[in-house]
């Protein structure tokens, strides 16, 4: 079973004859016998997802890494976090996905109004299944718990992803508009309720 290990800003991927998928161009070094090949249109979820992705403007270009050895992956010196999934779903902005193991399935989910307002396209990426996914972020990721009666409001620029049974709503209005800069910020923030975890980075994009 391929193993992903985060080492601050570098991800170590140990391959034992199996396969992982990683963001195109993220390999910085490798040892052993590893093949890198563009995953092309099939980058997670097959043709249908690729089509949805093209329509929605969610861009995620992946490559297949197969073989024996260790690959070092990184992106823009961003911090790396490895999340273990056991059959549940992680939602993340596609530009934060660095790599994932073979047992996981990537799909596109329409984000509706939120994607429109944060200028990141209409869709976000969902990761489902059993395995590991590596996320990159500006500054370390914080995992913030959301529980009933314990809502969390997040700046769309700091939002990385979430997991669990969460509802996402938009907060707008005079109060929020006065908080973000003139013309530079979005006139919305995200309010999470329900039960789950929200991943937040420490810098605005």
């Amino acid at each position: 079973m391929a193993q992903l290990t985060a080492d601050r800003r570098v991800l170590r991927a140990d391959l034992h004859g199996d396969r992982i998928r990683a963001a195109s161009g993220s390999m910085v070094a490798f040892e052993g016998d590893i093949d890198f090949k563009s995953a092309g249109m099939g980058a997670g979820g097959g043709m249908r997802a690729a089509l949805k992705r093209a329509v929605a403007g969610e861009s995620l270009s992946l490559m297949d890494c197969t073989g024996h050895g260790r690959a070092y992956l990184a992106k823009d010196a961003m911090d790396v976090l490895v999340v273990d999934l056991a059959g549940d779903t992680l939602t993340a902005e596609s530009q934060h996905v660095l790599a994932h193991t073979d047992g996981l399935r990537l799909d596109v989910q329409f984000a509706g109004l939120r994607g429109m307002t944060s200028g990141q396209g209409l869709a976000t990426t969902t990761v489902t299944g059993q395995g590991q996914v590596a996320l990159v972020s500006e500054g370390p990721i914080m995992a913030l718990e959301v529980a009933p009666g314990q809502d969390l409001v997040v700046d769309p620029d700091a939002y990385v992803g979430c997991r669990g049974q969460l509802q996402m709503g938009l907060v707008s209005g005079v109060s929020w508009k006065s908080l973000v800069g003139e013309g530079t910020g979005e006139p919305f923030s995200l309010r999470f309720s329900g039960h789950g975890l929200v991943l937040v980075q420490s810098a605005e994009r």
């Binding site: 500054g139 913030l144 700091a158 109060s175 006065s178 810098a203 605005e204």
Partner: protein, 247 residues
């Protein structure tokens, strides 16, 4: 993976080197865009709007140039602050004064008073209270006499405002060549801030500066010092500069 909730988040302390958590109970001044996320019942109002509700705001926030970049956060909850992934630090002022680069000031509690510094791009905090500032890399504390690069200068406490020092060689060269050519001959290091007297100077270990929208408003407000003909000359020079940069 470590997770946080409102009960486990620290109160008025760092969550990690880049994120600070304010336990809000009452009012804080915060820079626009500094908030990453919050739990609880928190309202954010523009400083201008809030001053009509609470008259003390106008007395505490005495800087028309920066007023549009700030909000008042009121209510109860935990507010997480961050700034471009820079290092964040909280400072306690005890009946003191500290001047800091306006871009690097993220938040201060409502007991402190903010004034505009005479040095452009800097603000002064007065009184007793807590404030949060960011720095690119760790903060370095030095004592005067000291000369600092304007970009690396984060602020200073308890000492008089600095004067501008120009490199002697550069000065004699520009005097010999008559001052007109002086603007073009810059190594970027001939201008320094010179600190004298008692106090502490704060430096950050990087020179990356962000465009401060308030600098434009500040300089514009100072053009009132010019006579009409002087203002016309300045206008012509600025137009010439803009055209030169286009080519």
């Amino acid at each position: 993976m470590q997770t946080w909730n409102p009960a486990t988040l620290p109160a008025d302390d760092n969550v990690n080197p880049h994120v600070f958590c304010v336990a809000l109970s009452g009012e804080w001044f915060m820079a626009k865009g500094a908030m990453l996320a919050y739990y609880g019942d928190v309202r954010f109002e523009a400083v201008t709007a809030y001053s009509s509700v609470a008259s003390w705001v106008a007395a505490r926030f005495s800087s028309p140039v920066y007023v549009q970049d700030w909000v008042v956060a009121a209510g109860h909850g935990k507010v997480l602050l961050g700034d471009r992934g820079f290092d964040l630090n909280a400072y306690d002022l005890d009946d003191g004064n500290l001047t800091i680069k306006a871009n690097n000031l993220l938040a201060f509690d409502q007991r402190l008073e903010l004034k505009q510094s005479i040095v452009p791009g800097f603000v002064t905090l007065l009184g007793t209270g807590k404030f949060i500032a960011s720095s690119n890399g760790p903060v370095i504390f030095v004592e005067p006499p000291f000369r600092a690069d304007p970009d690396a200068l984060l602020g200073w406490a308890d000492c008089p405002s600095p004067s501008v020092h120009h490199d002697t060689e550069w000065m004699s060269a520009s005097m010999a060549g008559m001052l007109q050519g002086a603007m073009g001959r810059a190594s970027g290091e001939e201008r320094q801030y010179d600190f004298t007297g008692q106090g502490t100077v704060l430096l950050q270990s990087s020179e990356i500066a962000r465009e401060d929208p308030a600098v434009l408003r500040l300089i514009e407000s100072q053009t009132q010092l010019l006579t009409t003909s002087q203002a016309g000359t300045l206008g012509q020079r600025l137009v010439a500069r803009a055209q030169q940069q286009q080519h």
